[in-house]
């Protein structure tokens, strides 16, 4: 009975994190972007500095009419947001927050599990693009799929480099084995992983699949109301997951001063800092062209990650 309660609590915790953290990131993005651009951002909703802007947005989305175009493939069109969103919820359960089993659920091959499940999210965009029966959506969907090819490989290779360093695929195991000099040792891999992750999330400067000035809003052009909101939620949940994963793999997760009592705080702080960087990059860089992303991935990121694997292998064999 105690076991059941434990599992139920974990499930609730994961769902709450999944619903709250993306909203925090979204609100931060509103305010940070605004101040970087010399604006104030939302100031009205909720009274204090527009803190309830995203809640108000959610209420608005829920009341909007749900339009499925007459030509669309109805079932696939309606299911696509769920397929895009749920993988990030699944991933959250495997990400360790603090020492001594402070994790939703320890998954033995956690690293593989996380990378595999994150890849499924792209299917949602592809389904949306294909089922909308709209030229812009189709172009956006195919760009998304092409982007998958570009970033997935550097991500896998740099994650393999971390697995080599730690000698395990379990995410808590990787953080357990962390030493401070891992960060400089794996620095190239970390940068490659983070960059590839940005491309997975279709965040600027890699937002060609939703490029509003070229193809309206890519695969999501035909969506309104709640389903559109779920796609947006998926993007921000993706930011949380990517930043948390980068923290766990490359920045030592809960390690830091007083990690015994405040370990979980370190994980959250590092994740929040990375999320800030994601927002910062959006404000700073213009969008790349589709072919420039492919070129960047295949001629820069992949050679760099192969070099990182070589470096990790040599250092690891020398010191052991």
């Amino acid at each position: 009975m105690n076991d059941t309660l434990d599992v139920v609590l974990r499930l609730i915790a994961v769902l709450v994190v999944f619903l709250v953290l993306p909203l925090l990131v979204g609100q931060t993005e509103h305010k940070v972007m605004a101040h970087m651009q010399g604006r104030l951002g939302p100031m009205y909703a909720g009274g204090f500095h527009g803190w309830a802007q995203l809640v108000a947005d959610g209420v608005k989305f829920a009341q909007k009419e749900d339009i499925v175009p007459a030509d669309a493939d109805r079932r696939v069109f309606q299911l696509a947001p769920a397929v895009a969103l749920l993988p990030y919820l699944l991933v959250l359960i495997a990400i360790p927050v603090g020492p001594d089993g402070f994790v939703g659920q320890t998954v033995d091959a956690g690293l593989i599990f996380v990378l595999a499940v994150m890849g499924v999210g792209v299917l949602g965009s592809l389904m949306a693009g294909w089922a909308s029966a709209n030229k812009f959506s189709l172009l956006g969907g195919l760009r998304t799929a092409a982007q998958l090819m570009a970033y997935e490989l550097p991500m896998l290779l740099t994650a393999a480099s971390v697995a080599m360093a730690a000698g395990t695929l379990s995410l808590p195991g990787i953080v357990d084995g962390y030493h401070w000099w891992w960060t400089p040792w794996q620095l190239v891999g970390g940068v490659v992983f983070f960059t590839a992750g940005l491309a997975e999330l279709q965040r600027p400067p890699f937002d060609m699949p939703v490029a509003d000035s070229e193809i309206i809003f890519g695969a999501y052009t035909e969506y309104t109301g709640l389903r559109f909101a779920l796609f947006l939620l998926a993007e921000y949940a993706g930011i949380v997951v990517l930043c948390a994963l980068t923290t766990v793999l490359f920045l030592g997760g809960w390690h830091g001063p007083w990690s015994g009592s405040a370990g979980w705080l370190w994980t959250l702080v590092k994740t929040a800092l990375l999320a800030f960087v994601v927002i910062w990059l959006r404000v700073s860089y213009p969008r790349l062209r589709e072919d420039q992303l492919q070129k960047l991935a295949w001629t820069v990121l992949i050679p760099l990650s192969l070099a990182q694997i070589a470096l990790t292998g040599v250092v690891k064999v020398v010191i052991s």
Binding site: L11, A62, G104, L153, L157, G225
Partner: protein
């Protein structure tokens, strides 16, 4: 594998882990279903033929729903499949290569493997499939 034995864990633990993951998936499906169902109660339904029209910047859609796209994506997908299948083999190797009894020779094998990947990538690069312009 050896760690599992050391900690005295069994297949029961192993399946317990993944059943919790399965429960998360169930929670997720429930969440989405509740969201869609409550959305149905909250929103108006006033369809008109104009609303259901495919969006094409405000004018009536021209032609069908197909669009020309880059055939080069096809080459990338081939490259990707080859590399991704290779990359997956890295993971089991990564967990044991520094263990006692492996060491240097295993690392050399890995460099041969990486060499193959690099040569394949260089070949594709030389053939010009990685650049469009």
């Amino acid at each position: 594998m050896s760690e599992r034995v050391n900690e005295g864990r069994t297949d029961v633990d192993y399946f317990h882990g993944y059943s919790v993951v399965g429960l998360v998936a169930v929670v997720g499906v429930l969440f989405v279903s509740v969201a869609f169902a409550s959305g149905r109660l909250l929103r108006p339904v006033v369809p008109t033929p104009e609303k259901m029209l495919t969006y094409e910047c405000g004018v009536d859609p021209v032609g069908g729903d197909w669009a020309h796209t880059q055939i080069r994506y096809y080459v990338y997908s081939f490259l990707y499949v080859i590399f991704a299948v290779d990359a997956i083999f890295l993971f089991p190797w990564a967990t044991v290569f520094a263990a006692p009894g492996y060491g240097g020779a295993t690392l050399v094998e890995m460099f041969v493997f990486l060499g193959f990947l690099a040569v394949g990538l260089l070949y594709a690069w030389k053939k010009g499939v990685l650049e469009w312009t």
